[in-house]
Symmetry: D2
Subunit: 281 residues, 4 copies
């Protein structure tokens, strides 16, 4: 199988709009769960860029358990994302829900996310396998590591080798956290596969006060990066408010990650424009 270390012993590096995931650096992907308005997206983007995130996230098409919940702004959400990219220089990742979305989203975003509920939506996996954008593939809520790697194999075998795996918690009997973060899956997957692996502590825990510890743990465990939800006003977020960090919490987290990365001889990844800014500065 193409995703295995047997097939390719060398670690894969996935380029997302100039940000290289899997090259030894630690890539922080951050932003709100859902794009709610141009202002909310702009505000969140500016804050996470300033704090040092390398990639911006935000959902325009939202999968929701209930058909009556807020399901995203759709195309105008993509517009706000693109505007936030222009303002900050950060590449953007956003979710695709169905094969019919793939072309539209691939034209605008730098990376396509396949969510946990679509982790075995094989038609969608093949559709993103035919796209010219890297893919962020979340682990299914109840997928084994083996099934998760086979889902990646659908994408890769369809022609798109640029897959980043995302551990985001699995479903267990424990209800005190939203899901159970299976952090041991990080070193396990890295031993089995050459694909980069990032961790989403926001969905895994469901509680913002647990996100910083799990972010540091993910870095210490050897993950290639994080996906973290950050919102200008978590109390009033249209989705996932309880697990979203405030700007202040995110600033503090980035400082702690930076210091921890150093002690591990790693560094936080930066977006190309930020490097330019840094060089110019």
């Amino acid at each position: 199988k193409q995703v295995t270390r047997e097939w390719q012993p060398r670690q894969s590096v996935v380029d997302v709009g100039g940000v290289r995931i899997g090259d030894g650096s630690f890539t922080v992907i951050a932003g709100p769960c859902a794009v709610e308005s141009r202002e909310q997206m702009a505000s969140a983007a500016a804050a996470v860029a300033r704090a040092g995130a390398a990639v911006l996230r935000g959902g325009a098409f939202k999968p929701r358990t209930s058909p009556y919940a807020f399901r995203g702004l759709g195309a105008s959400g993509l517009d706000h994302l693109v505007a936030a990219r222009a303002a900050t220089g950060l590449p953007v990742v956003t979710e695709v829900l169905t094969p019919g979305d793939v072309d539209t989203v691939a034209e605008r975003a730098d990376m396509l996310q396949v969510g946990t509920r679509n982790a075995q939506n094989f038609a969608l996996l093949e559709a993103v396998g035919g796209a010219h954008r890297p893919v962020l593939l979340k682990r299914g809520l109840s997928n084994t590591v083996e099934e998760w790697l086979l889902a990646a194999e659908y994408v890769v075998s369809h022609g798109n080798a640029d897959v980043v795996l995302c551990e985001r918690g699995i479903r267990t009997f424990e209800t005190a956290t939203r899901n159970t973060l299976d952090l041991a899956a990080v070193p396990l997957v890295k031993s089995l596969s050459h694909l980069p692996v990032v961790v989403d502590p926001s969905h895994a825990t469901g509680h913002r006060h647990l996100v910083p510890s799990m972010s540091l743990a993910a870095l210490a465990a050897g993950a290639d990066g994080l996906v973290v939800e950050v919102h200008p006003d978590p109390e009033n977020a249209l989705s996932d408010g309880p697990q979203s960090l405030t700007f202040e919490m995110f600033d503090d987290l980035m400082a702690r990650l930076r210091r921890l990365a150093e002690s591990l001889d790693r560094r936080l990844a930066t977006a190309p424009s930020q490097e330019n800014a840094a060089n110019a500065g």
Copy 2:
């Protein structure tokens, strides 16, 4: 919510090509996991019709964990299903994997199945919600009863009220069976919702020797029917061989179900053509 007993206290009855599911009778849906050839399908169809099944099943488009496994015959599989319907008079149910399949399949089949891995593929749920065919909605591998009913709500709120729910086992720590049949979900769902509920003991257990007991238990628990895999030659099946009944086992099971149904003042459903045959006989 439209699927609840609060919305509609009266039990729903779903008509599948003349077979009424939910009217108090017990509907046996049977056939091979996958359509493998015209001959295999014809043979299985004749056997299950003879034994008294009311609806025929068979997969033309197969979701498979690995991209390298047998993934169904596609359109020609539908042809074989249609031929088997013509020969036996049994209406047919088959799976749809993606919104793009829905129109094609709805033209040929009597009922559209949404599989366990697509149980929260909301784009697909909305697509079958717009189709003019009843829907067999399997419970997701790790979906709570609440999430399962909300998945049904996607279909119903999109305009298609003809949904039959199918309990097919959930994922737990136990590995001696393929999944864990959550049979208590049957009376629970029937208390919460007016939709019919059937049970798939084949996928739930993964072992043919456990299928008869669980079929009888499903009837005793108050289910509206069964979905059972039957294959002319399970040892050489292209998928799910170990859980498929032989013709002999299915004959025996039908006889036991018939007797059990009587003691519960119920009867096994029959297809319209079979009733005609019975009346003529």
Copy 3:
């Protein structure tokens, strides 16, 4: 291993104060979760005896998640159980929590129960393995079938072959029911082991309205019996009220079980004194 069919192909029959479990009949064990008072126990015992239960249950020593919950009446609870046996003629089963309890309880009760939280308390398993009373061994909340059979092996290999296994629900992600009744474990265990297997639908579901369906399903699935909680006043029970049947519900359930058993060529077991009473009547 001594509990396997390889070791002993013939089905074991376990004698509990004259009631034979595993002989093809269906044994209903019923009573309150906890012995709360002499009156409560007498009332429940009379009601379940009248309805046709064969064995009486009631907890004198109660394992409770919190140290501050009602933990049973202890020795005086045993007195009330013994009095209820004298009044009804039904043999009694009650739980032992620790090796130090075994002798005391074995002197008074007809059967020793090992609860789900002690399913791998190996010192206790060995202690009941040395007792001269049959053992009702509940499956651990998160024990595989293999581990459950090995727990039984502890008892049997220590000298006590009279073990009845009890499936009482396993812990899964589903929270709508207290546990998930793994009914497929019944035919599975019966194929692997010669020991009788009974089902506890009360703890498995946690809701009295689900208990009758699951009781009928257990019989249809081939179980050797049931353990059902019945209480004179469930609303005011000191433990497990929501899952306890009222007397009326239990009467109705027994009538339905009797009819279902007949259709399966089985009969409900009766206590020896009841047979005498019946013969005398």
Copy 4:
């Protein structure tokens, strides 16, 4: 409840033979799964002491799923532990299986371990609650955080406030690892309770190659320490060989932990005798 932060806001510090767990340092408890012989224990003890572990572990009484597996050396295992303590100066922790063991073990060992299968053995919890030794309380295989804290409450409410909680993996559907390490339970428990929390990456993962990453992650997540299995010859260990570190791996892990701790402004705990040795050196 006495284990909560509401009851006692201040972090508890538990003294184990002079090693203070919970004082901000990171305590490494290491040694073989089972005491197998005087030589094996002496060799392992010398190696983990040299590498900087603060407490020695080793099982004399072993709970085993099968009655036919190696169940420990019993009393002579305790002798070997005591000898290893004398040789290295490290305090020792070992498991108690039943109330009858508590006095014997408490006379010899510095800390009493209650294992995962006994996490709701309430009689044992009360027995160690009456002992004059600190208790290492493992989380039950399928216990929620709430149940785990209530188990600790049994010990504390019985008079023994010196409880250290140990997250050791929970049972989930994933079979690629022995259990699923629920690392988010560490910050969660620390927010709810004042008791120290340590992590056992050996039992949680079941594979030695995953232990170092999870050890570093535990430190980064804020745990108060680790319990790690180390064996002179893992290939020939009588139990848990696949998850035991070699001496070389443990040396390397300790060096990495030391560096990581520094970057978090923490230090590894040392045993009193080692401090003396260090001061004298």
